[in-house]
Structure formats: structure tokens, C-alpha cells
């Protein structure tokens, strides 16, 4: 048993999202949903974060940014793709500058559907991500 699942710190990156999912991620932090109940803090710092929440699809410009953030995060870490843009490209899938879902760049652990993803489904997804985090910790602990 580790304490990862009790204190998951989150970093949020907005890929080429429409803001809809972003403000829902932010809304999760605010009084009505208050994810700090689960110990979740929205840190802006990849070095402190355990969960990378990405909204929006990837394009040429932000691929290096996403990779950079992912590499800066310390093991164990979990990636959550929020909203259908981050899972498949969504309505913008056919746009010339959209490469598709986040899973094209970094491994994604949890996919949250919805356009825009509701705060409730984001909370569900993050809770699901905590299970993945715990598993990863076990694997990581063995490596260490």
C-alpha cells in the first residue's frame, strides 16, 4: 500500500482543446465538486505531479510540449485523456492540423468521453486513474 492514491497531484495541459473540457477540469477544483476531498491538488509543475490530465487533441506544435511535460514527471505517473478530442480528435478529427488523440504521442491510461466531459465523469475517470497509479507503483517498486 502506498500513499499515491491518497495524494494524487494533478497537472493539466490544454492541447488543442476548445476550453470546454479545460474549464470543466478547473470546475472540478471549485466548491461544487472540490476534488481536494481526495487530496488532489492542481499543481502547475510537472515535477510535482502524478497525474497528467490532457484535454484536446495533439498537433505538430504541441507534441514536443506534451512529451516534455510527460518526461519531466517523476515515476510513477498516469496520463488521463479528458474529452473526446483528447481520445480521438473528436469533431476536429478531420482538420488538417489535428493529428488525433493523445495516445499518438504518449501512453494514455484512462480515456474520459464526453464533449465537454462533465465534472462527474472527470472525477470518475481520475478515480479510475488512481487504481492504475497504484498498480504502476507496485511495478515501479519492484524495479527499484
Amino acid at each position: 500500500m502506498s500513499y499515491l492514491a491518497k495524494s494524487p497531484w494533478l497537472i493539466h495541459y490544454d492541447g488543442s482543446s476548445c476550453n470546454g473540457c479545460d474549464i470543466e477540469v478547473l470546475a472540478c477544483l471549485t466548491p461544487m465538486y472540490d476534488v481536494e476531498r481526495f487530496g488532489i491538488i492542481n499543481t502547475g509543475n510537472p515535477k510535482h505531479a502524478d497525474i497528467l490530465a490532457i484535454t484536446g487533441s495533439v498537433n505538430e506544435q504541441n507534441i514536443p510540449i506534451i512529451k516534455n511535460i510527460y518526461d519531466q514527471m517523476l515515476e510513477p505517473k498516469v496520463v488521463i485523456a479528458i474529452g473526446i478530442c483528447a481520445t480521438s480528435g473528436g469533431i476536429f478529427r478531420e482538420c488538417y492540423n489535428v493529428q488525433g488523440g493523445v495516445d499518438q504521442v504518449i501512453p494514455v491510461d484512462v480515456y474520459i468521453p464526453g464533449c465537454a466531459a462533465r465534472p462527474e465523469s472527470i472525477i470518475d475517470g481520475v478515480v479510475k486513474g488512481l487504481g492504475v497509479l497504484e498498480e504502476k507503483y507496485k511495478k515501479y517498486g519492484k524495479k527499484r
Binding site: 502506498s2 500513499y3 499515491l4 491518497k6 495524494s7 497531484w9 471549485t30 466548491p31 472540490d34 481536494e36 476531498r37 481526495f38 487530496g39 491538488i41 492542481n42 499543481t43 502547475g44 509543475n45 515535477k47 510535482h48 502524478d50 517523476l74 515515476e75 510513477p76 507503483y137 515501479y140 517498486g141
Partner: protein, 289 residues
């Protein structure tokens, strides 16, 4: 039992108790803050979960010296508190405190990140802002009790607050800086919602960050210890006032915007110069006449 043995017991109690108390205080802080913001808030043990989690994360330091500096920060912070609770020399305590924060600044400077660099610069400015008031506090306590030893100050029969009301208010003012609370959370902030990301602590991660957290717990307990000194004539009252002060800081934190470093500097020095110095002068003449 000899006085040395009692001192030793107090120091050991401090070494073990301070992080626990400090952690619980931090947890209560987060719950009260959440309630003030209309949220539900985390469990009271949340700070401990955070630190334990940070311990189990991957170790990654920007460079080797960084960890050394942070370790020294923790060490001197513990030393500061230990000397203080052992009843040692107040001046030594304050110098050790400054040394500790300088180590933290050095740790931040040792990385190349511009965020942590500017954060460190701001921390230095903050140190400059609060240091005069801290020294005036020590001087005031000396003038009132004719001793720099914490043990003598604590044992002083007349309530210190009676002599030093201005200094007490001034000290509470700079306590906001020391607790890193809004309006003076310039160098680093609790939730990293500022232009410098996490400022001073941006480049620390994993176990190193956990050390900083623990050092902050020690620091907070020590600072509340100084607040206690003003009301040491009645231990119960002292503890209550210390807790009330902490609550006041949370209230101030939640009803103020972050101000600029210019105002921090200016206001801290004005407070030190007016409240602190005036109080000092009055005490000097009152006691010497």
C-alpha cells in the same frame, strides 16, 4: 531530575512532536481554508499523505548540491527549534533561522530554472522585509526581561504582551510572510497558482520536496512558539493565543490578494519602524526611568 535532563526531554519531545503537530496544523489549515472557500476540504491527515507520497516518488535532483542545501535547510530549521525549546539564546535561534532560509535560497539558486531563480530572489527580498522586525522582537524581549535566554523570557513573571503590544502586532504582521500566506506568498505559494509556478520550490521534487514540507512544519511550530512567549505567564492562554494567531493568518490568507514585492518590503519596514521601534523606545524609557 536535573534541569539538563528536563531540557533534553523537551528537545526530544520537540523533535518528535513538532512534525506531527505541524502536520496536523497544516491539515487543519487546509480544512479551514476549504471551508472558508465553500469547499469540503481534504482529510486532516492529508499533509502526511502528501509527504509520504513524495517519499515514495522517484528521486530526481537537478544537481547534487541541491539536495545538500535542502538537507541543511531542514537541519538548521530543526536546530533553530531545538535551541528555542531548550531555552537557549534567542539571538542564536534567530541567526540559525536566517541561516536555514539562506540554505533554501541557495538550493533554489543552484538550479538553472528562471522560475526558481526569481523565486529565490523574492525569498531574499522577503527575508530582508521580515528580518528587522524579528530582530526588534528579540531586542524588545531583552529590554523587557534583561535576558536573551528563552528560558528566562518564558519564566518572566509579568506578561510580555503588557510591555510589547506593538512588537506583538508587528511580529504577527511579518508572520504572514514567514507562513507564506497571502498577501505575502511571493516566492512560493501553496497551490502554485502564480506567475512563478511554484517559485522557490519549482525545482525540488519527490523526497526533496518532502524534506522542505517537514522543515516547514518544524518552522511553523517554532514560530508559534515565539507567539507563545508573549503570553508565557499563562501557558494555557499562550497556546490559545498561538492557535488564534494561526487562525487569523488563515483568515488573512483567504481575504487578501497577493501584493507586489515593493509593497511587501515597504509595509513590513513601516510596521517594523513604527510599531516595533516606538514600542522599543517606550519600553526603554519606561524601564530605565
Amino acid at each position: 531530575m536535573t534541569t539538563t535532563a528536563i531540557t533534553a526531554i523537551i528537545v526530544i519531545l520537540y523533535l518528535i512532536g513538532a512534525p506531527i503537530l505541524g502536520g496536523i496544523l497544516a491539515g487543519l489549515d487546509r480544512i479551514i481554508t476549504a471551508r472558508m472557500q465553500g469547499r469540503y476540504g481534504p482529510p486532516v491527515w492529508q499533509p502526511f499523505y502528501d509527504v509520504l507520497k513524495l517519499m515514495s516518488k522517484e528521486k530526481a535532483a537537478v544537481n547534487k548540491t541541491q539536495n545538500f542545501y535542502v538537507f541543511c535547510f531542514l537541519l538548521f530549521m530543526i536546530f533553530t527549534g531545538a535551541v528555542f525549546f531548550a531555552g537557549g539564546d534567542l539571538l542564536l535561534v534567530l541567526f540559525a533561522l536566517t541561516l536555514a532560509s539562506i540554505f533554501l535560497v541557495l538550493g533554489a539558486f543552484s538550479s538553472n530554472s528562471p522560475y526558481s531563480f526569481i523565486g529565490a530572489e523574492r525569498e531574499l527580498i522577503q527575508t530582508m522585509a521580515y528580518e528587522p522586525m524579528v530582530l526588534i522582537t528579540a531586542a524588545g524581549m531583552y529590554l523587557a526581561t534583561k535576558s536573551f535566554f528563552v528560558a528566562d523570557i518564558a519564566a518572566f513573571s509579568t506578561p510580555l504582551i503588557y510591555y510589547l503590544p506593538g512588537i506583538f502586532i508587528g511580529f504577527v504582521y511579518i508572520l504572514t510572510i514567514k507562513f507564506r500566506k497571502s498577501p505575502f506568498d511571493l516566492s512560493t505559494s501553496h497551490h502554485a497558482h502564480q506567475e512563478l509556478v511554484k517559485g522557490l520550490t519549482t525545482e525540488f521534487s519527490g523526497p526533496t520536496l518532502a524534506m522542505i514540507e517537514i522543515a516547514h512544519w518544524y518552522e511553523n511550530i517554532f514560530l508559534l512558539g515565539i507567539v507563545y512567549l508573549f503570553f508565557a505567564f499563562n501557558p494555557l492562554l499562550g497556546v490559545i493565543v498561538a492557535l488564534l494567531t494561526y487562525f487569523l493568518e488563515i483568515l488573512i490568507d483567504n481575504s487578501n490578494a497577493r501584493v507586489t514585492w515593493q509593497l511587501t518590503m515597504k509595509s513590513a519596514w513601516i510596521v517594523a519602524a513604527t510599531l516595533g521601534m516606538a514600542n522599543l523606545i517606550i519600553v526603554f524609557f519606561k524601564l530605565s526611568v
